[in-house]
């Protein structure tokens, strides 16, 4: 009895020592930069950067530095300004300032319906037979964007996504998810919001939609600082010039422009 305990105990001790030694000797050395960077990243694993998750992104940044390439730091649009600076510090690179972005819906959901749609309640699938909406640029409204948002910033209301600007991080996952490109990323400090993206001429838009932009140009005329130009049958607003005075919003006969205040949850 004693012998057995002795033999098994000795064997255990030998294996234990062997494993401890092997564990130390053969340990995969994790770069501590990866650890530190992933702690600074948001940790939502939203995947909008194109990598598997935050940790995957962190190791991609580090290996890019090690291989002498430019790390794709700006692929992550979610990371806070401060953390971004710290990550740059860890990587030993200089980063300039960036403009925070926010997602914005460029449709007011008032396209006429020319046929009834029955089928999968998924925008990407419905878009294959998308001509049930008179406007081929209009929001389909089944909420692929809301499902794609990792931050719970999108809610569907009356068949149109409503974006909570406080929760939106500007990651762009909804932009990717939308089969029609209805959602755009705009600078967070934009003052005027355009709720249409149809490049069709006015006579087509009038037939297709109750609220679409008809490119009449009244907004451009009303703008005191000449920040609006009509391009591709849509107003293009120069956000640097725009003062947010609201003259264009008043002038628009179709209500496709509205003012944004930074605190406003659109």
């Amino acid at each position: 009895m004693i012998e057995q305990i002795f033999v098994v105990g000795l064997l255990g001790l030998a294996f234990g020592l062997g494993l401890t030694y092997a564990g130390k000797k053969l340990a995969a050395r994790e770069d501590d930069r990866v650890e530190r960077i992933s702690k600074l990243l948001p940790g939502q694993n939203c995947g909008a950067c194109g990598f598997g998750g935050c940790r995957d992104f962190a190791s991609a940044l580090v290996s890019a530095i090690d291989e002498g390439e430019t790390p794709p730091l700006d692929a992550c649009k979610v990371v806070a300004e401060e953390a971004r600076g710290e990550i740059a510090g860890i990587l030993g690179i200089e980063v300039g300032e960036r403009k925070p972005l926010v997602a914005q819906v460029a449709c007011s959901g008032k396209s006429k319906r020319i046929a009834e749609y029955r089928g999968a309640r998924e925008c990407a699938a419905a878009d294959l037979v998308g001509d049930f909406l008179a406007c081929e640029y209009g929001c389909i409204g089944f909420g692929d964007c809301a499902r794609a948002c990792s931050f719970g910033a999108i809610e569907m209301k009356d068949g149109l996504p409503v974006i909570d600007r406080d929760k939106c991080t500007g990651c762009g996952a909804c932009v990717e998810a939308c089969p029609r490109g209805v959602i755009e990323l705009i600078p967070r400090d934009s003052k005027v919001w355009l709720r249409c993206r149809s490049p069709e001429p006015g006579k087509v838009v009038v037939v297709a939609c109750e609220a679409g932009c008809i490119a009449c140009g009244l907004c451009a005329k009303a703008c005191p600082v000449a920040a609006i130009k009509i391009e591709n049958n849509l107003p293009r607003i120069d956000q640097d010039l725009c003062t947010g005075c609201g003259k264009c919003v008043e002038a628009c006969p179709r209500d496709v422009l509205s003012l944004l205040s930074s605190s406003e949850a659109s």
Partner: protein, 435 residues
């Protein structure tokens, strides 16, 4: 005579061949036609004419230099009123030429050639020049299909008269009424391809067509009466059912030494080669809830609304207008013109459209049983909905022919085909961007 072979899966829907006994009648000459510049698989054609120009029937009005494309001809004589982007029955928006009729139906007559004495190249040129495409529905340019790539030998031509979709009878009537021209077309096809064997494949629910074809071939070619099953008209399944040869996934019938041509295409080839008549009209079945369903010989470009009117108008409130059959056809949301591939206009009123609610998948496996390609539709659907497109290709999503058997049998009424289609599109575009 039966081949004794069969293809996997498939279904037996109710056939509703309402118009099987009605002779093809010539539709009234339309006042205007709309001719999309792409009515086929391949490149969009460039317009050869200007707005305001006068054209005659059979005049070539659009063509393309791309190897896979087919020219478009004016189908009525008159004036080109407008060239603009319009919807087509396939759900695309394509530049289209609108011609207003002068009511005189003046033709620009081409010349035929004697296929016996002409070379392969001369015949192919004739087929291309006259805008012949596959008339079974897919509208693949015929001169491309009859020109197998280097090194592929074709030993057998199958003339497809299966017409397995419910409601459609356009090919059926053509086989009964134009069997001689179909057989002549088949001879031309066999000559071009250098194939020894020509087989006419018809489903056994069309005994009169089988009989006519047997008479017309007078024993030169085999005429098979295949056991009726949907989707036998799909060329892959037809080859399996007729010859017991299996086209490899991602491959083409060339790979097993076969070319399949629809009966309507065979007739159009005969018209084009022997008489120099371009593809300006075709037989369209107008059926479902219309007062006088029938088979109409229609000028391509005639609007659906015009043809439905000519068949007595709809019975009851229209809920759905489908281009093609009920299994693979496309529901329309606008008034669109007949294009080269349109074989049927199906009108459904209230009583035929059943609203069904989608329920969760219970994994009963019926979709797997009926899939003629041997796929697992329920699994592919789950993967598409999760966005796992890479895994979809492991489940061979690209082999799906969108025949609709899975959605037809699904007890949970899941729109499987639509979801699979979306997965195919997503996968194709992911490949394009090289991800």
């Amino acid at each position: 005579m039966l081949s004794g072979f069969k293809f996997r899966g498939g279904i037996h829907p109710d056939y509703f061949k309402l118009t099987a006994g009605s002779r093809v009648r010539r539709a009234d000459l339309p006042k205007e036609v709309i001719l999309p510049l792409r009515q086929h698989v391949g490149a969009v054609c460039e317009s050869l004419i200007e707005e305001g120009e006068r054209v005659k029937v059979g005049q070539k009005i659009a063509d393309s230099e791309s190897p896979v494309s087919s020219p478009i001809h004016a189908t009525i004589s008159g004036t080109v009123a407008e060239i603009s982007v319009r919807s087509t029955p396939t759900g695309e928006r394509v530049r289209s030429i609108r011609i207003e009729s002068d009511g005189r139906d003046r033709w620009l007559k081409g010349k035929g050639i004697d296929p016996e004495k002409s070379s392969r190249e001369e015949i192919l040129a004739k087929i291309r020049e006259n805008g012949i495409v596959g008339l079974g529905g897919a509208a693949f340019p015929t001169h491309v299909k009859l020109n197998p790539p280097e090194g592929k030998r074709v030993d057998t031509v199958i003339i497809n008269g299966a017409e397995c979709e419910p409601y459609i009878t356009a090919d059926h009537r053509l086989m009964v009424e134009e069997s001689r021209r179909i057989v002549r077309g088949a001879k031309i096809i066999a000559k071009v391809l250098g194939a020894e064997r020509v087989i006419f494949a018809v489903e056994d629910n069309k005994p009169d067509a089988v009989e006519r074809l047997r008479k017309a071939t007078s024993g030169d070619f085999e005429v098979l009466a295949l056991k009726t099953k949907y989707p036998q008209g799909d060329e892959r399944h037809l080859i399996k059912a007729v010859l017991n040869r299996e086209v490899p996934p991602g491959g083409l019938p060339f790979d097993v030494g076969v070319v399949v041509q629809n009966v309507g295409t065979a007739k159009a080839i005969c018209d084009a080669v022997c008489d120099g008549i371009p593809l300006v009209e075709r037989v369209v079945t107008v059926t479902g809830d219309v007062r006088k369903p029938g088979n109409l010989l229609v000028r391509i470009g005639t609007l659906f609304s015009n043809l439905i009117e000519q068949c007595g108008g709809p019975v009851g409130a229209v809920r759905k207008v489908i281009s093609g059959g009920p299994m693979m056809g496309i529901a329309q949301s606008e008034d669109v013109p007949v294009i080269k591939g349109t074989n049927c206009i199906l009108v459904f009123s209230e009583r035929r459209v059943v609203e069904e609610e989608e329920m969760p998948c219970i994994r009963c496996g019926r979709c797997v049983d009926v899939c003629p390609m041997g796929l697992m539709p329920f699994m592919i659907r789950a993967l598409v909905e999760k966005g796992k497109f890479d895994a979809c290709s492991e489940y061979d999503i690209m082999s799906c022919d969108e025949c609709g058997c899975c959605a037809y049998v699904c007890p949970a009424k899941i729109p499987l085909v639509q979801i699979i289609k979306r997965g195919k599109m997503a996968l194709a575009s992911a490949k394009e961007v090289g991800r």
